[in-house]
């Protein structure tokens, strides 16, 4: 299924000059079923409403992690589960890494300086594939 929001086709409202953008996504069958199931459960009529709610939820999660807050669900018996998504972890302030001193030899410095001041190498196929994963 292509998740398609069609707000762009609505006539522009007076006084509003902002263009609405169109969003299209190719979903795997399992994701398609998930979207349909969630729309039914949440009584959402359109993909636009679905995307809007999903966006609001993701935005909230990003803002919470950006503030350093962790996100948990808690069961009736008090059992807690933390929401951990690698992409969310990247915006967390703990991402700030400590600084260490490297003991460079003169030859290493020269070799590294030559690499840094030159043009970057083209990425290898393995790196491209890794970055897509």
């Amino acid at each position: 299924m292509a998740l398609n929001t069609r707000q762009a086709r609505r006539p522009p409202q007076p006084g509003r000059g902002m263009r609405k953008s169109k969003f299209q996504a190719d979903l795997a069958p399992a994701e398609d079923r998930m979207v349909r199931g969630l729309k039914q459960e949440l009584e959402l009529n359109s993909n636009t409403d679905f995307l809007s709610d999903a966006l609001a939820l993701l935005h909230w999660a990003v803002m919470e992690r950006r503030r350093g807050n962790r996100i948990f669900s808690e069961s009736g018996t008090g059992e807690r589960k933390e929401l951990v998504l690698p992409r969310l972890e990247r915006v967390a302030p703990e991402l700030a890494l400590p600084h260490v001193e490297i003991a460079w030899s003169q030859r290493e410095l020269e070799s590294l300086a030559a690499m840094i001041s030159g043009e970057p190498e083209k990425p290898t196929e393995a790196l491209i594939r890794a970055m897509r994963s």
Binding site: V84, P86, E89, R90, V91, E94, L95, A96, L97, P98, H99, V100, E101, I102, W104, S105, Q106, R107, E108, L109, E110, S111, L112, A113, A114, M115, I116, S117, P120, E121, K122, P123, T124, A126, L127, I128, R129, A130, M131, S133
Partner: protein, 172 residues
């Protein structure tokens, strides 16, 4: 197997981790948490399986580092800005041998590269430097790391991956 990569946490099970290299095993078992939490020397990220979310299947450790521009002879500083050059140090990367050959190393390197890109966006980073066992260099060459020349043979080899190359890979 659904693998997640996240920061090391205190309750993670690290005792059974075995990548067939004692220094790398020992670091995770004995030092990674305290270095991250108390000493702030390096931050470790672990790969875990959804089915057993506390069992560590692989890890890497990152820190920021820099290259002192002042230490370079004049001929080498041409084209470089007059500051220390910020770098990310990929200090360790290891996969438990029970899970080797399943693409975990690639997933860890991918995550380390993406974190480096984020750091580059926030505070600047010119590239990733890794200390690599000589017998593992071929694996790093595959991902575009280049060997940094050194004075003496033997011991780990320092390698470099330009952040611009990583960015190009992400956009390819």
């Amino acid at each position: 197997m659904a693998v997640f990569i996240r920061r090391l946490e205190e309750l993670d099970q690290v005792e059974l981790f075995d990548c067939a290299d004692e220094p790398l095993n020992n670091y995770l078992r004995k030092h990674a948490w305290s270095n991250q939490q108390k000493s702030s020397i390096g931050v470790s990220y672990v790969a875990t399986d959804e089915a057993s979310p506390r069992t560590v299947l692989g890890y890497f450790t990152l820190a920021t580092a820099s290259m002192p521009r002042d230490a370079l002879p004049r001929g080498f500083v041409r084209g470089l800005p007059p500051y220390q050059v910020p770098l990310i140090l990929l200090a360790r990367l290891a996969v438990d041998r029970r899970f080797s050959g399943k693409g975990l190393g690639r997933a860890l390197l991918s995550e380390a590269s993406k974190i480096s890109l984020t750091v580059a966006d926030f505070v600047g980073c010119r590239g990733i430097v890794a200390d690599v066992y000589r017998e593992r260099m071929e694996w790093y060459f595959r991902y575009g790391f280049r060997a940094i020349e050194k004075d003496a043979a033997g011991g780990p080899q320092r390698m470099f991956l330009d952040i611009r190359t990583v960015r190009m890979a992400l956009r390819s």
